[in-house]
């Protein structure tokens, strides 16, 4: 059933985000052309297209956050919940489908950012005439140690986990906030602040317990340990938020 939920959830977000991505790419092309090698380069056009590009980037960011919040609160706790919550699907599958598709679209936003960067480079022509030092790059890759590869892998995993954890923190705050019969938005914001305070406190305590982890990163081994610990803590927080959502939705759901 998770697959079926994703079949509808991923396009539901894409429907809103893909047009923004396309717009973002278009502004990147304009910016590239304005900056580019054109002889009649105009400062004014660079500023304007630069602002446009920045505005689109902000729009994508803001829209992603809004959609992540909306898709969760509307479909599972708002009007659409009157359909979604009567599907023969477990609460865990519901939360997972929201989280997975949100993660996918956050990652795709990252990809879109890279694409816009590439578009600016291509259309401005800065890539022309630049020699990419392929040989040096390959040498670097060849000389990378297993420990360094592990650190890189850990970093990627940690990033993915952090994004997922942050999404789940938003979900948990919304779910807790929904328990208030009135002013659910305020309650959700309050809950979110509470969760962030909790996270910071946990972070402080951990730093207090393992002071050498942060202050003395001298070798790759230290880095491996630091990232590894980070992954563990992030996963634990993510799991906690997931279970908060699950608990309230299974045992205390009250759609008004």
């Amino acid at each position: 059933m998770l697959g079926k939920l994703l079949k509808y959830e991923i396009p539901a977000l894409g429907r809103r985000l893909v047009p923004l991505f396309i717009g973002w790419c278009a502004t990147a092309v304009l910016l590239g052309l304005a900056v580019g090698p054109a002889q009649s380069k105009s400062e004014f056009m660079v500023v304007i297209t630069g602002l446009l590009y920045g505005a689109m980037a902000t729009a994508v960011l803001v829209m992603s956050v809004i959609l992540i919040i909306q898709r969760y609160s509307n479909s599972l706790l708002g009007d659409e919940a009157y359909f979604n919550q009567v599907l023969p699907v477990t609460v865990s599958e519901h939360i997972a489908s929201k989280g997975i598709s949100a993660l996918i679209w956050v990652l795709l936003s990252g990809v879109a950012m890279l694409v816009t960067g590439l578009l600016i480079a291509v259309f401005s022509g800065v890539l022309f005439g630049v020699d990419i030092p392929w040989a040096a790059i390959f040498r670097q890759i060849a000389s990378t140690t297993a420990g360094e590869w592990l650190a890189l892998l850990e970093f990627i995993i940690l990033s993915a986990f952090s994004i997922t954890k942050s999404i789940l923190a938003i979900y948990a705050a919304i779910t807790i906030g929904h328990q208030a019969q009135k002013h659910t938005t305020m309650a959700s914001i309050g809950a979110y602040i509470g969760l962030m305070v909790f996270e910071t406190t946990i972070g402080r305590i951990l730093v207090g317990l393992f002071p050498h982890l942060l202050s003395n990163i001298e070798s790759v081994m230290d880095l491996n340990g630091f990232f590894g610990g980070g992954i563990f803590v992030t996963a634990a927080l993510g799991a906690l938020y997931f279970f908060i959502c699950k608990y309230f939705m299974e045992n205390r759901l009250n759609l008004n």
Binding site: K4, R15, D79, Y82, L87, P88, V89, N254
Partner: protein
């Protein structure tokens, strides 16, 4: 085992008691009218049966189980509002139902949509309120469920559609299902009902066979309702 069993069910919202110690047993093979004025607890009861609200005390059982994934498989619910994603069109909504409900009869849904003149390609958000209601009803009634929970199915539709809806409910009737219709428009539906339940301020004040009421009181259910709920 009763299809639906409601035991000592109480639901409070803050200081308001929406349902007060409701106890009911509903057997399969009947169409039941859940009747009461606005705010009497009809929607609350239906939402609890769907697992959308958590009881304050007591419980409800469908086929002996509390609301959950198993009961959701066999319960077809028509909510009192539009709950379907409004950017989807009729065709996509039919696909959606088919994906999630194994008891969904696609042909039946398409026939009903055709009968009611609903456009297969029209987006939900471009439909009139009445058309949205009709489409939702088609999707719900095209399921071959054990329990149908219809919250105000004839509230906002014209008389011709109302007749079509009632005929749909009758034609869909089967000995294994129980259909619960909540409404305050009693005269329109009373000839379709087996049993009627009167809800007043969260309490069941009457649960009887509609024919018995007519026989013994010489009144229609509608007339009796007006007496019981006279202001």
């Amino acid at each position: 085992m009763a299809r639906i069993e409601i035991n000592n069910l109480t639901k409070e919202f803050g200081t308001l008691t929406a349902l007060d110690s409701v106890a009911l047993e509903l057997e399969k093979g009947q169409i039941v009218g859940l009747l009461g004025p606005n705010g009497s607890g009809k929607t609350t009861l239906i939402k609890i049966l769907n697992g959308l609200l958590t009881p304050t005390a007591g419980n409800v059982l469908i086929n002996g189980m509390e609301p959950g994934v198993e009961t959701k498989r066999v319960v077809a619910y028509l909510p009192d509002r539009n709950a379907l994603p409004d950017y989807m069109n009729t065709q996509q909504l039919i696909d959606l139902y088919q994906d999630f409900f194994t008891d969904f009869n696609r042909t039946k849904a398409e026939d009903m949509v055709l009968d009611l003149g609903i456009d297969m390609k029209q987006q939900m958000k471009r439909m009139s309120k009445g058309t949205k209601e009709k489409l939702q009803l088609c999707l719900v009634m095209a399921r071959e469920a054990d329990v149908y929970l219809l919250d105000e199915p004839i509230g906002g539709v014209d008389p011709a559609t109302r007749d079509y809806i009632l005929r749909t409910i009758i034609s869909n009737y089967n000995e294994d299902a129980v259909v619960i219709i909540s409404t305050h428009l009693i005269s329109d539906i009373e000839s379709v009902l087996d049993d009627v339940i009167f809800l007043k301020e969260g309490k069941v004040v009457l649960h009887r066979n509609a024919e018995d009421i007519r026989e013994e009181t010489g009144e229609s259910v509608d007339q009796l309702f007006r007496e019981v709920f006279r202001c």
